[in-house]
Structures are given as C-alpha cells and as structure tokens.
C-alpha cells in the first residue's frame, strides 16, 4: 500500500516534468531552428549545437550524479543510492553516445573529418568507455550487492580520472607539435544565446523526467528480485514440511 502511494506521487511529478520538458523542448527547437540566425561561417550545420551542447551537459551531469550516489552507497550501504547511480549511469551512457554521434555529424562538414584526437573528444570517448565498464562489471558481478559496490568504485574512480584524462590529452597535443584543428570563435548573437539557454533547460528537465522514470523501473526490478527470493524460500519450506 505504501509502495503504491509513493509510486503515484512519483508518477505525478514525472508527468509534470515530462510535460514541462516536452514544451520547453518544442520551444527550444523552434528557437534553434527558426528564431536563431544562420551562422555566417558554418551555415545551418551550426544548429546541431543546440542539441549537442545540452546533451553533453546532461552526460556530465549524469556522471556527477553517479559519482555522488556512488559515494553515498559505499558510505550508507542503502540500496536506493545504487538505484539512483545506475539509473543516472544508463542515461549518461545514452547521452554520451548521442554527444559523440552528433559531434561527428557536425565535424564532418566543418572540420572535414569525423574525428580528431582533441582533448574534449578523447575525454568524451573515454568517458563512454568508463560508463561501458560500469555496466559490464555490473553484468558480470553476479550478485546484487557486489554489482552495486563494484560499479560504485568505477563511478568514483572515473569521476576523478576524467579531468586528468582531459589534462593529459591536452598536454599531449600542445607539447607535441601537430596541426590543431580549431574553429574561429565568433561572437554569439543574442538570439543564439537565448536558444541555447532554453535548450539547456529543456534537456535538464528531460534528464530529471528520465531519472524519475528510470528510478521507478529500477526500484520495481529490485522489488521483483526480493519477491522471487521470498517465493523460492517459501516454496522450499513447503517442500520440507510436505
């Protein structure tokens, strides 16, 4: 009964967040595709920026949430922190993938190449692999508590590692002379800033909406495991008494 009350509260908040994010997303798309002026140098290709940057923001936000929840899990050992961490990690993995893909789409016409070993790109790629490792160790750990602990360790190590990866790749490029591809940074007109801000808000709301949905699913999965366990115990008892 208590569980039901809680989930209906969560689904109410989820519904509101979902609606809000859908509305701001629609406004953001209008602002980004119609209202904001065409970029003088990059043309319409620049418009991918309105989804690429917010997705990168969500990916890093998700990773930050994984880090905090992982610390809380190792400290408190409460299952809810692992549920939060793994929900956020899954969203983070999806958004990191999208960031890499949309970045490549943009890089092809503007840079003339799908990929370059620039610090930001390399760090994002490595972040993707760390998230992947996070889910691989969960899948192979076998036991729920172990999966939670091991993945929490990966979440914490990864969080500290990402800035160092960025730094080392950045130095590797600058201390090692190479043709560096760069984009001339033009001043952004006001309309572009407005469009970007609305898109950032839309994607943040979307992240929160996804988190509530995903957290609900993960909680149900854990409940199901508990029920199955209780059921098998009861069956075993039934066999011994009969």
């Amino acid at each position: 009964m208590i569980v039901k009350g809680k989930s209906s509260w969560a689904s109410g908040v989820g519904l509101v967040l979902g609606l809000l994010s859908a509305i701001t997303m629609a406004i953001g798309m209008y602002l980004g595709l119609v209202y904001a002026p065409e970029d003088a140098i990059q043309g319409n290709a620049q418009r991918i920026f309105y989804i690429h940057v917010p997705m990168a923001w969500v990916a890093f936000l998700a990773f930050g949430v994984v880090f905090l929840a992982a610390i809380m899990y190792l400290w408190k050992r409460a299952l809810i922190w692992d549920q939060i961490a793994r929900s956020s990690a899954e969203i983070g993995l999806v958004f990191t993938t999208l960031v890499l893909v949309t970045g490549s789409f943009w890089g092809r016409p503007i840079w003339g190449t799908w990929w370059t070993w620039d610090a930001r790109l390399t760090t994002t790629l490595l972040l993707w692999f760390i998230f992947l490792g996070y889910f691989m160790i969960r899948a192979y750990a076998g036991d729920r508590g172990r999966a939670a602990t091991y993945s929490a360790v990966i979440g914490i190590i990864g969080f500290f590692d990402v800035p160092i990866i960025y730094l080392s790749v950045d130095w590797w490029r600058t201390l090692h002379p190479q043709a560096v591809i760069s984009v001339t940074s033009a001043n952004m007109p006001g309309q572009m800033v407005v469009a970007l801000m609305v898109c950032l808000l839309a994607f943040t709301l979307f992240y929160l909406y996804l988190m509530i949905q995903k957290l609900g699913i993960e909680r149900m999965k854990d409940q199901l495991i508990d029920y199955q366990y209780a059921l098998s115990e009861r069956e075993a008892e039934g066999v011994t008494t009969a």
Binding site: G133, I154, I157, I164, I165, L167
Partner: protein, 223 residues
C-alpha cells in the same frame, strides 16, 4: 606504524615465496613482454629518427600487457586456492592487505621491466641507461599497480575476469600511458625541457589513485 609495516612485508614475502616455489607468474610475464616488443618491431618503423617515440610506445604497451597478465594471475591464484579468504580472516586492517598486494604486484612488474629494458635496448639500439628512465618506469608502474590491484580484486570475483580487467583498466589508465610514453620518449632523446611536467602528472596520478584505491578496498572485499 612499525607494526603495520611488518604486516605489509609479511604479505609481500608470502607472495614472493609463492612465486619462488611455483614460478607461475614471472616467467610468463617476462616472455610475454619481450615477445610483444619483438612483434612491434614488425608493426612500427624502429630504425628511423622516430625510433625513440615508437620505441617508448612499444615498450609501455608491452609492459602494460604483461602487467595485465600478472595482475589477473596474481589475484586469481589467491582466489582459486582460497588463500584470499584466509588473508581477509587475518587480524589485520584491510588497507594493510591492499598495500601488501599492491607492493607485491609493483615488485613483480618492476622486476619484469628491469630485465626487459636492457634486452629492449640491445635489440633496438636505444640509449636506455639513464637514471631518469628508472624514475619514469617507477612512477608509471606505481600508478598501474595501484589501480590494477584494486580492479584485479574486483574482476577476479566476476564471471569474465580475463576480459573485464583490461576493459576496465585501459580507459582509466590512459593518463598514465600518455605521460609514461611521453616522458620515456623525452628521456630517450635527451630532451629534458618538458620532462618535469609529465613526471609531475604521473606523480599526482599515483598519489590520487593510490589514496582512492586504499580507501575503497575495504568496501570491495567486504562480503
């Protein structure tokens, strides 16, 4: 403090004694490292002016591969024979166990490196007999062993430990690989201008990740 050091040295001694008696780890790692370096001779140009750069890269890749082999083996030996549970039952702090295993792994990998480097120098005619190279090797291996010991303990209790360890370690170790390769290249070509930046980066990585691994080890082995 003294007591802690004694306990750590007992764990390290146990690992050394096991290795002396079984000889399972060292020979395999060493031959693997040398074979990797030999294979790289055919993959890269090891004769021209870029010899130092590709040589340093080949050397670190060989050491990392041999290191994966050694780490995985050293922990799975413990797990398979049940001696890891015995270690955990000992009346010592879990951090002490971590430091003991870490120093043991560090010793094995360093030993493999020290024996492979002269062979490497002879095969590719590189100027390796420099004290700074020892420092770069030590700092690079320290970071590798710190993260590696922790992740190997985790990977060893999962279903696919051989696959999982490198998949987890490569992305996390990237800064160590970049910094060690760059530092080694600079030492081999005797350009010491930017060297301190890379050695500092290695040192900072080592301190940070040794501290994190030490701090979370207790949680990882708690069953």
């Amino acid at each position: 403090m003294r007591d802690g050091l004694d306990k750590i040295s007992i764990i390290v001694w146990k690992d050394l004694l096991t290795e002396i008696r079984t000889k399972e780890l060292f020979g395999g790692m060493f031959i693997f490292a040398v074979l990797t370096i030999i294979t790289f001779n055919f993959a890269f140009d090891m004769t021209g002016t870029a010899k130092a750069a590709s040589g340093a890269g080949a050397m670190w890749v060989a050491f990392n591969f041999a290191g994966f082999l050694g780490l995985g083996r050293s922990i799975s030996l413990e797990r398979d024979k049940g001696s890891f549970d015995g270690l955990l039952l000992c009346p010592v702090d879990r951090g002490t166990i971590f430091l003991g295993k870490f120093i043991g792994n560090l010793l094995f990998i360093t030993l493999v490196e020290l024996i492979s480097v002269p062979i490497f120098a002879a095969l590719f005619d590189l100027d390796v007999f420099q004290p700074l190279l020892l420092l770069a090797l030590f700092l690079g291996t320290l970071g590798f062993a710190a993260v590696g010991t922790l992740l190997a303990v985790m990977a060893a209790s999962t279903r696919s430990r051989e696959v999982l360890l490198p998949v987890l370690m490569f992305p996390i170790l990237l800064p160590v690989v970049i910094a060690s390769v760059r530092a080694t290249t600079l030492i081999l070509t005797r350009q010491t201008n930017d060297l301190s930046a890379w050695l500092n980066l290695l040192g900072a990585y080592d301190v940070l990740f040794l501290a994190i691994s030490y701090a979370v080890f207790d949680r990882v082995v708690e069953e």
